[in-house]
Point group: C2
Chain length 388, copies 2
């Protein structure tokens, strides 16, 4: 049995201490002991997500958090502006359609980023839009969006800014309050290094005001019920207790590193990964690559499915393939959470070997050398900064 090396953009590797936290005998959740864990998690998430807003904890996948945002923030029959650039941002449109909300689309081709200017235009054209639904990192394309710029545009408008940070938050710099994000959705199984099963929503005072004022036919995802429970460090329904315990543990590790250092590492690994694959002659898919993940085009001459199978079978490397319209045409390497420098160098070495095996003209070591140079230069730069 080969080793297992998980480099997908969710689920990600989970620290041993968080895995072991799940294996502890189950304690009841309506107790002072568990409320203390929930309070600690709340404080940790506020720090990690750079917000003073409430952070609600849902037992659901990230899609549940997206549904909760749409269903609670926009009245049925109301209007929203949605950005669309890949499989996951498409979900905003689908959710609006499901809940009878008119979705005004800012759509760009897969691999392209949204434009804050285009959004500004749509906001002027549709001053009655209740919210703008957008995406920090589009996981299907590896595009990282300039949410700071988008916040600058949406902030002064009457619309609420809702960001799918499910896979991006926690690895890409994301200043929820400073960037005027009203609602940020986050998944547990990405940069937070927790298994899937929990999702999070930050909710601003302006968003609460909207939620209180509209008719919302919601029950399991009724955010007011979550807020009421949160005031007592509780949840409205039985939470996924072991995942909450894992989250508490992962947050301790994240906070001991510090967000500045985590964001910088995401950037560094992203640069190293890009340098490595480009040195092998591979093209990047995203026009504006995210710090959390690198999407790489598979050369036309190569069978994408076979390529991924060889990586998994020979080296235990599980990266993600393409979805939807880019199925078989790209692969995606996540560099978030526990993924470190050697994981990336190892992955690039494996890509080199598999490419050669599949008949590509690749000089072994080229990709690893290019990625290593990025790491070495960063280290030297860090040394220089310290010396100054």
């Amino acid at each position: 049995v080969s080793k297992y090396r998980l480099l997908t953009p969710g689920p990600t590797q989970v620290p041993e201490s968080a895995l072991l936290a799940m294996a502890r005998g189950l304690r009841h959740h309506r107790t002072a002991e568990f409320r203390a864990v929930l309070a600690e998690v709340q404080e940790g998430l506020r720090d990690v997500l750079r917000t003073g807003n409430d952070v609600l904890l849902l037992t659901s996948s990230g899609t549940g958090a997206m549904e909760a945002a749409v269903a609670n923030l926009v009245p049925r029959g109301g209007k929203a502006i949605v950005t669309q650039s890949g499989k996951f941002s498409e979900r905003w449109s689908e959710l609006c359609a499901t809940f009878g909300i008119e979705a005004v689309r800012h759509e760009v081709p897969w691999g392209e980023p949204f434009s804050a200017e285009a959004l500004a235009g749509l906001l002027r054209e549709h001053p009655d839009a209740a919210a703008v639904f957008t995406t920090l990192m589009e996981t299907s394309t590896g595009v990282g969006h300039d949410i700071e710029a988008i916040g600058g545009v949406v902030g002064p408008s009457k619309a609420l800014l809702v960001v799918d940070g499910i896979s991006g938050a926690g690895v890409m710099r994301c200043l929820t309050d400073a960037w005027q994000i009203d609602v940020l959705a986050v998944g547990s199984q990405k940069a937070l290094m927790v298994p899937p099963g929990l999702s999070l929503l930050t909710v601003s005072p302006a968003a609460w005001k909207q939620i209180e004022s509209i008719w919302r036919p919601v029950y399991y995802f009724d955010l007011l019920a979550y807020r009421k429970a949160l005031a007592k460090s509780d949840t409205p329904y039985t939470p996924a207790i072991p995942l909450v315990a894992a989250l508490a543990e992962s947050l301790r590790q994240i906070r001991s590193q510090g967000m500045e250092s985590i964001w910088a590492r995401g950037e560094l690994l992203s640069r190293a990964t890009r340098a490595g694959v480009e040195a092998l002659g591979l093209r990047l898919f995203a026009r504006r690559p995210a710090a959390g993940m690198t999407a790489v085009c598979i050369p036309d001459a190569i069978d994408g499915g076979l390529f991924l199978k060889r990586l998994a079978a020979r080296f235990g490397i599980k990266v993600a393939g393409g979805q939807g319209q880019v199925k078989g045409r790209i692969f995606r390497i996540a560099h978030m959470g526990m993924v470190d420098e050697l994981d990336i160098l190892g992955t690039i070495a494996a890509i080199e070997l598999v490419l050669v095996e599949l008949g590509q003209d690749v000089k072994l070591g080229t990709g690893v050398a290019a990625a290593s140079r990025v790491l070495a230069e960063d280290k030297a730069e860090g040394g220089r900064r310290k010396a100054e």
Copy 2:
């Protein structure tokens, strides 16, 4: 630190092997390996729940499964018959109200069971009701309902039978197909001995027909998406992987015991518990006690909160208090999943000691003796049956 003895009707104790299954390093879910686990879980759940129907796996609490049933089975503006006898069955009414469904109520006082005859009358009066929403074990009162009789009444009608078996299924005899249950909701954290975070829904062909034919503004809980994924042993959204692994492990244990033996043990522990507390002069709360849980009235002279605190502080025993209108007036001992004979005898012994401590006139040993007699007689009876 005292030992921890969890005897609540969810969460329940989790077998060590299931806890350890959660602690294994995370594997990706879109793989042949995980699909094999999902297929095994599907087969196991069909066996445990006595059904050939699809069993859908949701990442949510049991309330999510209830919402999915209501939102997928009854058209907006349609009509349903709901039974109501406690905090959890009230949720059916609340869900209908949320989704614009007219709820015709069969309501009985807390502690009383529903009547199949009354339901027959309502079905005659409301032949246009799309579904009957009812409850196997009402967790807030400890009442077990005669779903077989209710199935006999609902089966011949045009309405679908939907049963909240969240806490009851897996400990109380429940023959999904034979009793004509169209949709059964189950929680992971009860008799299935898995931590909270997963819920299950069985769906009959008649229910699928209804789901396909009505307009359903649902997304995260769109059951057709779950069915489509199930056909490939998959889930539409990222599932709570460690909880699925725990469920696979618990199902192995449950099936190695066999359902007849598990149901018989639930009945036996229920009888022993009732005999024990009644011998101490305590009254039962449920008129038709369920095999999964015993609700006991707290004597007027005793402070209910203090009573539960002493049980927890002195003996590490966590039983459940009362909710809603019986808060402080009852306590609830679950006997499902891993709870065994000695757990029950120990709990009764602790109750005796705490009652004496709180000034009640109780003869120490009386309750334990009565409960033990039930166990001894059952063993002797089993021996006689074997000898015959």
